[in-house]
């Protein structure tokens, strides 16, 4: 396995985030910095350039517009004249927007069931694998459920991850009813006194009604079989995705009440700005970000460092 061959240096959280985000920074915010440095005064062109940069970072037309309006207001209120002052304001605004609520990680201290949902190919199975590894390392008793019974070999993929993470897996053959896998998993979790049950589900396009119904059914099974469990549903979003991610989050939210977002593939050049848009429109916090293919390449989302890292000057 190449992943084990590729010896990964153990890097600190900030380093990893910075490495993962360095491309993001180059893509979107180096442009932003150029704007701040390139203007001597704050005028319409200045705002327009910032807005363009945000749109190019997948923040979206709507959210970008709102951010600019807010920024204008704040600049007026604070009587700011210098573009660099505007930079700090924008920085703080984004941090505030991306703040993770205090109870976001409460599930760690309770018996919880976490459903991982998302469209095809965003990295759900990989995320479940990484989460399992992470929680196991934190001393939790973890169980994973392979409720993706549709995609060819999804089961085998998760089985491999469960081996790497050293956790138990509940699975069934391709084509079986995923709700039955969830049923088995929930009962196993209860019997084995598992701390966290992670359910990997099949990728589904959010506009496919049947598949969304199937998701509802899986949730019902958990509600019925394990009423006292702490429940969370997280949507996995690919950082490369454009504005469609908002639709994805919205649709999944309407079916399954989302509590969080896992933003994957943050190690590419994708700007990750879509997270800002989703947070702005739907107020669903990003809880984790994925920054690579290794089992350690998943970190808690830290808005302070996220935004700071975005604004760091290119020095190296």
């Amino acid at each position: 396995m190449a992943e084990t061959e590729k010896v990964k240096e153990k890097t600190g959280f900030f380093e990893k985030l910075k490495n993962g985000l360095s491309k993001t920074r180059k893509g979107m915010m180096s442009g932003l910095n150029a704007v701040f440095h390139g203007f001597s005064e704050i005028d319409d062109d200045f705002y327009e350039e910032i807005e363009e940069m945000l749109v190019m970072g997948d923040v979206g037309v709507k959210t970008s517009g709102e951010i600019i309006e807010e920024l204008k207001k704040a600049i007026k209120e604070n009587k700011i004249k210098e573009p660099m002052g505007a930079r700090e304001l924008l920085c703080n605004m984004l941090k505030e927007k991306m703040a993770v609520p205090g109870d976001a990680y409460d599930f760690e201290n309770q018996k919880s069931v976490i459903m991982i949902v998302g469209v095809n190919g965003v990295g759900k199975t990989t995320t479940v694998g990484k989460l399992a590894g992470r929680m196991k390392e934190n001393g939790k008793k973890v169980l994973v459920a392979a409720a993706d019974t549709f995609r060819a070999a999804a089961n085998e993929q998760l089985t491999e991850w469960s081996k790497r993470a050293g956790v138990d897996i509940i699975s069934s053959g391709e084509g079986t009813d995923p709700a039955s896998v969830v049923f088995d998993a929930v009962n196993a979790a209860k019997a084995r006194k598992t701390d966290v049950l992670l359910c990997d589900t099949a990728g589904r396009l959010h506009n496919k009604k049947n598949l969304m119904e199937e998701l509802r059914k899986m949730n019902k099974v958990v509600d019925r079989e394990y009423p006292d469990a702490h429940r969370e549903t997280w949507v996995v979003l690919d950082a490369t995705t454009g504005q469609n991610a908002i639709n994805q989050a919205r649709e999944f939210d309407s079916v399954a009440d989302l509590n969080g977002i896992v933003l994957t593939k943050m190690d590419g050049t994708a700007k990750g700005g879509i997270a800002i848009a989703v947070m702005n429109e739907l107020n669903i916090p990003v809880k984790y970000i994925g920054v690579g293919e290794g089992i350690d390449d998943l970190e808690r989302f830290n808005p302070e460092e996220f935004v700071d890292a975005l604004f760091i000057n290119e020095e190296e």
Partner: protein, 449 residues
């Protein structure tokens, strides 16, 4: 369907435009501002949008518009033409090596773009063209990637070549190629691992594969939902590895699909196929001009016609002729009904047909296609619950028989009654209008759905 939301947006813009007799320069500018927003929200790359808007403005403001009799239509035409010119105007198909030489296609792309699925879909397509295809598992990194390809290969009835995860992809490709030559394969499809375009060592791996075997075409698989970054991905893959074409995956979501426009505009490489469903035959050639039309809400009748033709090619001519004969006499039975339902399924079902028709583009979103498909399925179950005699002779139906059929199909008896009544009505109708059948189905004789 992808592009639907963009279609809606642009239609609203143009609806406002159509209402006016003459357009001022401001009208053009404000309309184009909406177009710009629509395109940006559709994830079309910012630079592409800018260029697009400036091209259209240049053409629309002034002469062109002033001289046109219907300025609104004039703008639609210009926007359409510019859109087409970005997308490219020609359909591009795969090319093959001459004679018995083995043609190698390499699929590459980001993680989760849908390469393995695209590989199996491609194999399914090539099977229809009577190409003997070998699928090759070059993804040695992702857990169970090889199993996934093997499973898909089984479904596509295509042989899969794999050497496990300990052999370098370039070596796998080479051995697969030799195997293909020895065993008289026509086509080799290399399914490579997902990789980031900035991961140099992984990009080198693709170059190594290219050095090891003579890759005929390198195809980049791009997720239709990709945002602004699509151009970076496409540009990097193109510069570092060299791509010959693009496969657009997951085009059946509700994405506005601006990535398609961007990728073509920035790399100049054609989009060959659009993949739009979970089934292995859910992949269509990409028609740039039709796609431009679809964006503008003109529907996609051409795609529908093609699908009908493809379905026809597979049909049994003799059986069709017999059916047509019976239809004209108003003597068709439940077997014919079943057969025609099968035909419709081949066309991709209700929703897919509706969404391709002009004027339906918007409505298709509201249409509960799942509901419609479900109804069809139940109807099919009713027919399948009939005995051979009952199917051949609809007149046999008695209450007892209907009751048994309802039980067998798992539906309410009233549904069976309703269906049989409808069936009898259409039987009568067709007897009255035998000419209609000629018009609708031609020699083939199809039910007028």
């Amino acid at each position: 369907m992808a592009f639907e939301s963009l279609t809606e947006k642009l239609q609203n813009v143009f609806r406002a435009l159509r209402g006016k007799g003459r357009l001022s320069e401001e009208d053009v500018k404000s309309a184009l501002k909406d177009v710009k927003m629509a395109l940006l929200e559709a994830d079309v790359n910012f630079k592409v949008v800018k260029q697009f808007i400036s091209n259209v403005t240049e053409r629309a403001v002034g002469q062109d518009v002033m001289e046109g009799l219907n300025p609104g239509q004039m703008i639609v035409k210009i926007v359409n033409e510019e859109l087409t010119s970005i997308m490219g105007s020609e359909v591009t198909d795969l090319t093959f090596r001459p004679g018995k030489e083995v043609t190698v296609f390499m699929l590459c792309g980001l993680q989760g773009a849908g390469k393995t699925t695209a590989a199996a879909k491609l194999a399914t397509r090539l099977k229809l063209k009577s190409k003997k295809t070998l699928l090759v598992a070059c993804d040695i990194y992702r857990p169970a990637a090889i199993d996934q390809l093997k499973r898909n290969g089984e479904k596509a009835e295509t042989e899969v070549f794999a050497l496990g995860t300990d052999v370098k992809p370039a070596k796998i490709a080479k051995e697969a190629y030799d195997y293909a030559v020895k065993n008289a394969f026509n086509v080799v499809i290399l399914d490579t691992a997902g990789r980031l375009h900035i991961d140099d060592s992984m990009m080198d791996e693709l170059k190594e594969i290219k050095a090891a075997v003579d890759v005929h075409e390198t195809l980049l698989v791009v997720d239709a939902m990709t945002g602004q970054d699509a151009v970076n991905v496409a540009t990097e893959f193109n510069e570092k590895v060299g791509i010959d074409g693009v496969i657009l995956s997951k085009a059946d979501g509700d994405t506005r699909g601006g990535a398609a426009l961007s990728v073509k505009a920035v790399t100049g490489k054609p989009i060959l196929f659009a993949s739009n469903g979970e089934k292995l035959n859910d992949m269509e050639p990409f028609y740039p001009d039709r796609m431009a039309n679809r964006i503008l809400g003109m529907g996609d009748v051409l795609t529908l016609i093609d699908k009908v033709q493809a379905a026809n090619e597979e049909r049994d001519v003799q059986k069709d002729a017999e059916m047509a004969k019976r239809l004209k006499k108003g003597k068709f039975d439940f077997n014919d009904y079943l057969e025609s339902m099968k035909q419709m399924k081949k066309l991709g079902g209700f929703a897919s047909i509706l969404s391709m028709l002009p004027g339906m583009g918007i409505k298709a979103g509201d249409l509960d296609s799942d509901e419609a498909e479900l109804k069809l399925k139940r109807t099919e179950a009713i027919v399948l619950s009939m005995t051979k005699q009952e199917r051949e002779n609809p007149k046999l139906m008695s209450p007892q028989r209907k009751f048994r059929i309802a039980k067998g199909a798992g539906v309410d008896i009233s549904e069976v009654n309703r269906f049989i009544k409808q069936f009898e009505q259409s039987q009568k109708m067709m007897k009255q209008f035998p000419g209609m059948m000629g018009k609708f189905g031609g020699k083939k004789g199809r039910f007028p759905f």
